[in-house]
């Protein structure tokens, strides 16, 4: 067996074991990020946010991921009237 085929086999083996864990970790991170997004957007989603004064300064950093977020949580269109990302 040539060394390149051996390397490909090792990669496949690695993928076989690591793949599922990677998916789990990616999902766990996404859950944390979704939670954060909800906190920051609370006021716009109709949840009164007593800390809106402070959350609003976090908004610029999450705004760009907004489209990815609302499509992933099952809303095809932007749930916010004034954010027309799609």
């Amino acid at each position: 067996m040539s060394s390149s085929r051996w390397a490909a086999f090792l990669r496949g083996l690695n993928e076989f074991y690591a793949g599922p864990y990677r998916a789990t970790l990616a999902r766990a991170q996404r859950d944390e990020d979704d939670h954060f997004m909800l906190v920051v957007l609370a006021e716009s989603l109709g949840v009164p946010d007593p800390a809106a004064y402070h959350t609003v300064e976090l908004l610029p950093a999450v705004y760009e991921d907004f489209h990815a977020w609302h499509t992933r949580i099952g809303m095809d269109r932007s749930p916010l009237d004034h954010i027309s990302c799609c």
């Binding site: 690591a18 864990y21 991170q29 976090l58």
Partner: protein
């Protein structure tokens, strides 16, 4: 002796029910300390500001001179906190960041979003807290004493509880960022790629800055050697009942009550019956702090009136 207890500290909050003479007492305390050579900053957090009227000066959102000793360092400066101006400034700064970070097509939406935050329920008090933090930093840096003339009790207790609550809030969000970061690096170690590190660093920087500020105020409030509360009331049943509740709330918050002031006591010669009733009400009152009695001073406007009250606070030489 109230003035001695105040002289030992850097920050004093003066509170009590509306209309009991908090502003005049705060101002008289400031004047009495300034006469002893202290540099004093008086900050009004009450949206219905009276500081300017009392000193007969235009006082605004930045420090204005109210009184200065002819010789020596003693002086009194005043600030009337303007939450609306603070909200404007804050939202303008965020808007500037957004314009820089976001593509053009999102600008209009971002601005609409900011307008919602302006009207959100906690925005006004967050702005007051922000200004309290700023004036505290200014006060600790350039003055010997900062006196806060606060809004009526309920608002003030809420304001004093906020630093603790907001420290917890930023800590929760930072923990969320930590977990997200750990999952991301574990994901990366298993061969995944997703680079959001710039954004995360920015979020973390903002949260850390907020937490530092909130915990600074919280630590200051918790420190009875530097910070104290003075409770003002008039000798009538309702203000006294409220004062008992405020004293209990302050104990729960861990804030030291250093003095209670029975203000505007009726003159014994002109109104003997009324004065007797007031004396009975405060005789067996126990708020857990020494009680100071201040007689009624006519027409509390201008320096002479403040000097009359200050004289009541200063021990005879």
């Amino acid at each position: 002796m109230l003035l001695t207890d105040i002289a030992r500290r850097r920050v004093i909050f003066v509170g009590g029910k509306g209309g009991v003479g908090k502003t005049s007492l705060t101002s008289a305390l400031a004047l009495a300390r300034a006469r002893q050579g202290a540099r004093v900053l008086v900050v009004s957090t009450d949206p219905a500001h009276n500081l300017g009227h009392l000193w007969q000066r235009a006082v605004g959102n930045s420090a204005t001179l109210l009184w200065a000793a002819g010789d020596g360092p003693g002086r009194v400066d005043g600030i009337e906190i303007d939450p609306a101006a603070t909200v404007d400034r804050h939202l303008a700064a965020v808007s500037e960041t957004m314009t820089r970070m976001l593509p053009d097509r999102l600008h209009r939406a971002a601005r609409a979003h900011l307008e919602q935050a302006r009207d959100a329920p906690g925005t006004h008090e967050s702005a007051v807290l922000e200004r309290v933090a700023e004036t505290l930093e200014l006060g600790l840096d350039r003055y010997d004493l900062v006196l806060f003339d606060t809004a009526p009790s309920g608002h003030t207790l809420h304001l004093l509880a906020m630093p603790e609550r907001m420290t917890g809030w930023t800590e929760q969000l930072l923990a969320n960022r930590d977990r997200s970061e750990r999952f991301r690096s574990a994901y990366g170690a298993l061969g995944g790629t997703k680079d959001t590190s710039d954004r995360d660093a920015e979020l973390r920087r903002m949260l850390l800055r907020r937490r530092a500020r909130f915990s600074l105020i919280r630590d200051l409030l918790d420190d009875g050697d530097r910070t104290g509360f003075v409770l003002v009331f008039v000798a009538e049943p309702v203000p006294i009942a409220e004062s008992i509740e405020v004293a209990a709330s302050l104990r729960d918050l861990g804030i030291v009550l250093i003095g209670a002031v029975a203000n505007r006591l009726s003159p014994a010669d002109l109104m003997p019956l009324r004065r007797a009733r007031e004396n009975t009400l405060i005789a067996d009152l126990s708020l857990g702090a020494p009680l100071t009695r201040i007689p009624l001073v006519d027409e509390v406007v201008g320096l002479p009136a403040l000097e009359a009250i200050a004289a009541e606070l200063t021990p005879a030489p």
